[in-house]
Chain length 470, copies 3
């Protein structure tokens, strides 16, 4: 029986109501901060800032733009790999990210950036954090790709951003854990949030759309666009909100190296796992990124260059094996259908990242960091002025558990909400098919008239036709 | 009757002659400015500039590269959506942009950057402005996509850049209007220029190539590459030549927010306008960008974050409705064939941007901007030292009319020139077909042997067949 | 007879062993430099550096990211043009680049960055140089595309990086030649290295895979992604390690102009060379980049804007004619099979760049550069304090010969090694086919059951098969 997937009322309603709500809330709460306000010039004079270059804009904007590309092109195109769900992959990614960043500016603002006058003062750092925040929801989308309606995704994002802001506040501000690249805050939380939702929404008859669950040649090439932009810009992701100076510099080096090591190990495991050693695009598109995820927490630490290589080396081995053994196991046994394999790309490497961060922090010493360096890197100031590296390690570990807990509990709750039969999600037989929510190009409809299979065949594809003429 | 579309003489002739002309003119007029000359070090000492970072290069280069990507990949791939005109879309965009930036450096140089010694001194800001200038011509190309020859496009660009430099001079220097993101100077002018040309070149029998006027599945995904790079980098576009410090910072925030709001409203209108609420890729690919266009004039102003959201909200509603109702109406009634719907993406949002700019400027006050802030933001110095915000609003409005006038009159003149039967433009039946100007991969040539329209038709599209079995 | 292309043991073995070797060598040799170390703050105080902005990170990171995109997306997608080798094009590019940058950090480190304590201290400049270094090997890959196994590519890269580091040391440090954009060091060396290897590995029966040596419509569009990202970011490539301040600024302007001129001349020659003046995508995808290659050595020099236009103008004419006449000639007569035509895009323009650099250097004068400017631009300090511009020109020329010599001799040696029958390279009939080393989407595997050639052809296509099963 076909479900009612008509979203002509629900989607526009949700988009309009929420966008208008954003406008009202921004009107009440959001203002420019002193660096993006025309009074910056007075501020400069007051603070004796010698040059406009000291405006945080010039420290962070290039990194921001790289992160921005990762969110919209990176995540978006990585999800175009399905043969008939490329519109939904890149299109819905676009929709929920654009909504999420607005809601994130408010949620994170209330928790982190509320000024004495009750206003949220925003600058480029807020834009970066908003992008980070939606990344968690986009990861969650990866588990549900092709099985949910855009309305469900909007709900997933509304709650996802809310949960994110709270767990982020607990981990970064209350526990005072460091997580500049979000191994815990973004990847671990986002992955378990999405996996739990997918578990709640388990579809026993999903095999009915099995024929659409694969890729085609060109959709795999499209997905590589996403992979490469994520891979190339990940050093910016892990350094975007790191400390000015050596902090950003070191985060870039560590991430660059971890990612480089990830590529070789992914190719190795992918080849060894297949008959004739043939490579699998699924592994190349995903596991090569594990090093970036796993370096998110420790990116600013003095983990050393070879330490970064080791992190990338190990995380990609685990990630690739995850795609080979764990994903099928989870679907069969645990009833978790994970379309993009986020458990392998985000959950496990994210947890590794949290553990690496805890260990690296615990073993930090003045002999390596220098006295000032240690204080600056871990912000051992004010409330935590007398915290030691050892203790910091413990708090880092605690942060990891908070992230997991928020993912599991939050995912269960939101999954329950999304299970309601009101959201216009597709029937099992119509999953992974853009036909459900998109007007696909006319010409394809016209072909419905055709009845001659072989002809159609040749017509279908330029390549095919030509070859039969060579 | 097939037209003569042989451009073997005309295209090479135009390219060669004009490139050689560029070399000669650059030899006579163009030199490095003091920041890109080896004497910069002496200049630094003279001016007591403490660091190389104060070289404008470091303020503007990251933004320049983002703008550069928008011009070549953004505009280029946005125009690959047609099923058989992707080569022409991205290829001719490449050709005319590469010519246009050279001609723009000269034209804008003569009007804005002429030094006492009669030389044009160029630096990174000139490169940005040259990219801006060709954007106007690329917008115009959008209206003519698939219906003109590359030779015609070179002519369109030669005159388009010339007209641009003049109207820009009038609007920015004589009227002293502000337009950092070019809502008026770039988008309004470019759109009306292109629409008028398309009106003059009206093709009554264009329906003969109707079967090629649509997209196919993968060409729509290619077009999303263009959309997303335009969307992501638009904050750089509207801030690239804004004031150092808070100016660039604020322009980024305003544009980022306007674009975010545009996405939700576009999805809403697109869904509500279709049976079953299915989304239309044409809207997603275009109307989501309206907020960036509409924020071009006011990007630097203290429009407030929620003000930016409102601008994005409204402009995308109008833009999406334009695609649904206006474009068909314009083609039928006004005889304007607008391939890419630039009237909806650039003309209307551009005009909105001009109006928003005028209103925001007119309502600017010292209480909001601060005394210095107001002066800096609107450059109330020298000649216009005693201009008030109110008066500025009037001049902004005047600028908008100048842009429209130049677009309409210039388009009519250039359209007349392009109507001459000497440019090798395609016959109505051969529009939107790369076969005319490109060596398309072998296999497809063989398809041309067929005379059977339907056959031809179906072969056109890779993804055709699938649907007939779903 | 089909060859044994099973790489299930060899590829994983090479990847694992080499990655572990990297980890060990990095552990022994590589550390953070003073700008990426937590002790940066102490270093700042010692050196009286007023702001974190003076950290080289802020001078170079944006350029680094652009270069990074060129290496992975630019080179990668440029090599996706073949109809059935897109996976191999972008995938193997990814593999060897990720290995190459690690090996390059070590090799270049030992030659250029070895500290008194025997450690290689790395920062952002090292990352840029590592990317530059692998570019040489990726160019070489272009000549062998589709005809070698990934294991051979790993060997090609291991030796390629090693040779690169040595010739770079000789050219830049011993000869003290300038080559910021690597016309000689990167392009000339890489191209002759690859061409010689391809000559040694000559395949007389390659025509057996002729039907796979072309492109299809969408693979040509994919390749344009590579072309455009190379074209847009080339100014960053030629300026990334240029002098702070005017050096980087001027390098950007010169490269931007040379590339603009290249586009027009490429379109001209491409059109004039074809019946009916139809444009050839091969030329547009490649020869438009010749200007960037040819501007690599002289990018920092006072070559003047029109000089840059002339360089782009000439190099693209030669490059395009190369594709039309030289490539077929080389294959027939010289037995050099050059899949991507690197001789036209890198070898010839690279040599032109070296010559242009020598002439420009030789004709440099204090009247043009200013006394300080001349010294700074050519680093006439320490050992070469009393070198004149004339003499510098001679050393530049010498550098060009060193690059060519290393390419030819190195290529011959490595080609000999790669000729061994142990590397799992494909049979002549299986070249340019992803089937050999990749798990192509399921539907295609099933197609392999078929034995009927024509059928096979039709089945070659992912879309085809799946559809007939829906």
């Amino acid at each position: 029986m076909a479900k009612n997937t008509n979203i002509r009322i629900s989607l526009p309603a949700v988009c309009f109501v929420w966008q208008i709500a954003m406008i009202i809330l921004f009107g009440v709460f959001v203002r420019y901060n002193e660096e993006s306000d025309t009074r910056w010039i007075e501020h400069r004079r007051r603070k004796n800032i010698s040059t406009n270059l000291e405006n945080d804009f010039y420290y962070r904007y290039p990194s921001f733009q790289d992160v921005h590309v990762m969110i919209f092109v990176g995540f978006g195109f990585l999800m175009t790999f399905l043969k008939r769900y490329s519109f939904g992959g890149v299109g819905f990614n676009f929709l929920i990210a654009a909504f999420g960043i607005q809601w994130a500016l408010l949620m994170q603002g209330w928790f982190h950036y509320l000024d004495d006058d009750g206003k949220i003062k925003i600058g480029v750092e807020n834009l970066i954090n908003a992008d980070f925040c939606v990344a968690g929801c986009l990861i969650a989308y990866g588990a549900c790709l092709g099985k949910v309606s855009p309305v469900q995704l909007m709900v997933l994002t509304l709650f996802g951003v809310t949960l994110f802001a709270v767990e982020e506040y607990i981990i970064l501000e209350l526990l005072h854990a460091k997580d500049p690249g979000g191994s815990m805050v973004i990847h671990t939380f986002g992955a378990y949030y999405g996996l739990t939702i997918s578990w709640v929404l388990y579809r026993p008859m999903l095999s009915q759309s099995k024929h659409l669950q694969g890729s085609v040649y060109h959709s795999d090439v499209f997905a590589m666009i996403g992979t490469l932009f994520l891979w190339m810009y990940w050093p910016s992701f892990n350094s975007a909100i790191a400390d000015h100076g050596d902090g950003q510099h070191r985060a870039v080096i560590n991430t660059y190296l971890a990612l480089a090591a990830s590529v070789l190990t992914t190719f190795a495991i992918s080849s060894i796992s297949q008959k004739h050693g043939k490579l699998d695009m699924v592994h190349i598109q995903n596991a090569t990124l594990a090093g970036g995820v796993a370096m998110g927490t420790a990116s600013e630490f003095m983990i050393t260059p070879y330490g970064s290589l080791i992190v990338g080396f190990c995380s990609s081995i685990i990630s690739t094996f995850g795609y080979i053994f764990l994903t099928p196991f989870m679907e069969k046994t645990l009833k978790i259908q994970d379309t993009c394999g986020i458990h392998n790309l985000h959950a496990m490497p994210g947890v590794i990242g949290g553990i690496v961060g805890a260990i690296t922090a615990a073993s930090a010493s003045e002999s390596v960091y220098g006295q000032e360096g240690l204080i600056n890197t871990f912000d051992f100031k004010e409330a935590v002025a007398n915290r030691t590296a050892n203790i910091q390690g413990g708090y880092q570990a605690a942060g990891l558990f908070v992230a997991i807990a928020f993912g599991l509990v939050g995912g269960a709750l939101v999954g329950g909400i999304l299970k309601l039969p009101i959201w216009g999600d597709p029937a099992d037989a119509n999953c992974f098919d853009d036909e459900v929510y998109w007007e696909v190009p006319e010409d394809e409809d016209e072909n419905m008239l055709s009845s001659h299979p072989n002809m159609n065949h040749a017509r279908g594809m330029p390549d095919a036709y030509q070859r039969s003429h060579v």
